[in-house]
């Protein structure tokens, strides 16, 4: 029985027909190799990059955008959110700086995605 999946790796959104598992996995409808990897993962352990915000102590930058460096299991997303919601950032961070080392037992770090600058942004 082939299963229909929509690949979410890029905006093209290829319609995949997937059958078999593990070594016997067969994928049709993918326009690139990422589709095959996506289908395999989606059948066994669907995972997503989580993007959200964390609170900060800076009034000019009240919340900082963050993401997971790598994917976390879809089923663990709300556990991750609970841990993220308890964080308060007390230093000015830049993109790539680690906010949490190991998010909610997933082993995946949470990193900043924005540049908090140095107080009011003045460029001239």
């Amino acid at each position: 029985m082939a299963k229909e999946l929509i690949c979410i790796q890029c905006p093209q959104g290829c319609r995949l027909q997937v059958s078999g598992r593990g070594e016997g996995l067969k994928v049709r409808g993918n326009k690139c190799a990422r589709g095959i990897a996506y289908a395999g993962k989606e059948l066994t352990n669907p995972s997503r990059t989580l993007t959200t915000t964390v609170r900060t102590c800076f009034p000019d930058f009240p919340v900082l955008p963050v993401r997971t460096r790598g994917e976390v299991p879809l089923a663990r997303i709300f556990a991750c959110m609970e841990e993220i919601n308890a964080v308060r950032v007390e230093r000015r961070l830049r993109p790539g700086d680690v906010v949490l080392d190991r998010l909610a037992g997933t082993g995946v770090p949470l990193i900043a995605t924005a540049d908090m600058g140095e107080g009011k942004a003045v460029y001239h």
Binding site: C10, T52, L74, M81, Y123, H124
Partner: protein
């Protein structure tokens, strides 16, 4: 501070940042004007990922994508006037005078030989769609909700209905659920969703948020605060069927009903706008009908990928620098005429004197299969392309080498024909 510039770029979002860097690299003295306190434009609040696959071959979040452009502008020492409002634009001699206002200098003027308008777009509001009822608190555009949650750190409501299935609406449905709100559903008057398929999967399906097609909101209930909405199925002519309406209780109505390029500030210059796109009519250098005025990004037409916004910024910035430095020939324009299943195409004309390659962006006006695109001048076909399927939400990009056009080409035809329900 220098007052006279070769090129001034209005707006420090992705289009403006790319334009400024490109103008600088082409040898022009350039500065950026930005009304917000930080550069980056709408990307600052687009904290989700999926940006940059075309330009960088990586999946970046909005702030990460913007950061690369901001760093590129900083490395070039291009000044950015933040928290600075453009009050008025006038032509003066062979250039422009910009009357601006900010906290440090009150009202002041800058002059420029060339202008790049990278002013982005704004959202269609509740006033621009037909919804009955009072005007209670709790009705927001998706972009406003995005700003409240991702920049200010507030949750605007606990129980939300989303009207319109545009990408921002889908992304905000997921965002609201992640932050602890309940999303009752996404309602779309058309029979097909207007957002990208991947967003239907990763924003709605992942979080069990229902999508109701051919259904719309006709009435808002509540006096002080939204208490619910009336949703109605719609017929194939997009007319609501009021006797089949039902009440959905909610405290927030989020509108994701379309974007409009923002070009009001250009009006006094006599700029010609394309009624289909809402942006200026431009040639392949993204030059408008006003000499020295260039347009790019979402102010030119609403894009679905920021990568193409940046590309248009680079084209406009380079062309503006060439104009300002006196490196352009008198133009010789041929109209680019869209035909068949095309909703719109940009640019609207080709400058044959400037030559080079024209990047053409277009959208189909309906979902079509087995689509054939041709570009022809006179009886010569210069480009052919086939698409298995084309959908209006997904913009197509093609490159036309103007050297392939026959000499003395008048109008150039861009024709798209496909089959229903591809």
């Amino acid at each position: 501070m220098r007052k006279d510039w070769d090129v001034i770029v209005i707006g420090a979002g992705p289009a403006g940042l790319a334009a400024a860097a490109a103008a600088c690299d082409a040898g022009a003295g350039v500065c950026l004007v930005e009304r917000e306190s930080r550069p980056g434009g709408i990307l600052k609040q687009c904290i989700h990922d999926g940006f940059g696959l075309v330009r960088y071959g990586e999946k970046l979040t909005g702030p990460e994508y913007a950061w690369r452009d901001i760093e590129a502008v900083r490395r070039r020492n291009i000044p950015i006037w933040t928290e600075t409002f453009l009050l008025e634009l006038q032509r003066a001699g062979d250039g422009f005078v910009l009357t601006m206002q900010n906290r440090e200098q009150a009202v002041f003027q800058l002059t420029a030989r060339a202008l790049v308008a990278a002013t982005g777009c704004r959202e269609r509001t509740a006033r621009q769609i037909f919804i009955h009822g009072q005007r209670p608190a709790g009705i927001y555009t998706a972009g406003t909700v995005q700003h409240m949650i991702n920049i200010q750190g507030y949750l605007p409501g606990r129980r939300c209905v989303i009207l319109g299935s545009g990408d921002i609406g889908l992304i905000m449905a997921r965002r609201l659920v992640l932050e602890g709100a309940r999303v009752e559903g996404v309602y779309e008057i058309k029979p097909e969703p207007s957002g990208l398929t991947r967003n239907l999967v990763q924003c709605l399906q992942d979080y069990n948020i229902p999508l109701h097609l051919s259904t719309t909101v006709t009435r808002v209930l509540g006096r002080e605060r939204v208490e619910g909405v009336v949703v109605c199925p719609a017929d194939e002519n997009l007319r609501p069927l009021p006797d089949r309406g039902r009440i959905v209780p909610c405290d927030t109505l989020v509108l994701s009903v379309g974007l409009i390029p923002e070009n009001d500030i250009l009006e006094p210059l006599g700029v010609e706008l394309n009624p289909r796109t809402g942006g200026p009519v431009v040639d392949q250098r993204l030059a408008a009908n006003v000499p020295g005025l260039f347009s790019c990004g979402n102010a030119l037409h609403v894009n679905d990928l920021v990568d193409y916004v940046s590309e248009s910024g680079e084209i406009a910035g380079r062309a503006a620098a060439a104009y300002a430095l006196g490196r352009t020939q008198p133009s010789n324009h041929a109209e680019l005429v869209p035909e068949g299943d095309i909703l719109y195409a940009v640019p609207g004309r080709l400058d044959l004197a400037a030559g080079g390659k024209a990047v053409i962006y277009l959208r189909a006006n309906r979902t079509i299969g087995n689509a054939r695109l041709t570009i022809s001048a006179g009886d010569k076909t210069v480009l052919r392309k086939r698409y298995p399927v084309l959908r209006p939400p997904e913009m197509e990009r093609i490159v036309l080498d103007l050297a392939d056009l026959p000499a003395g080409a008048g109008a150039v035809k861009l024709s798209l024909r496909g089959e229903e329900n591809g």
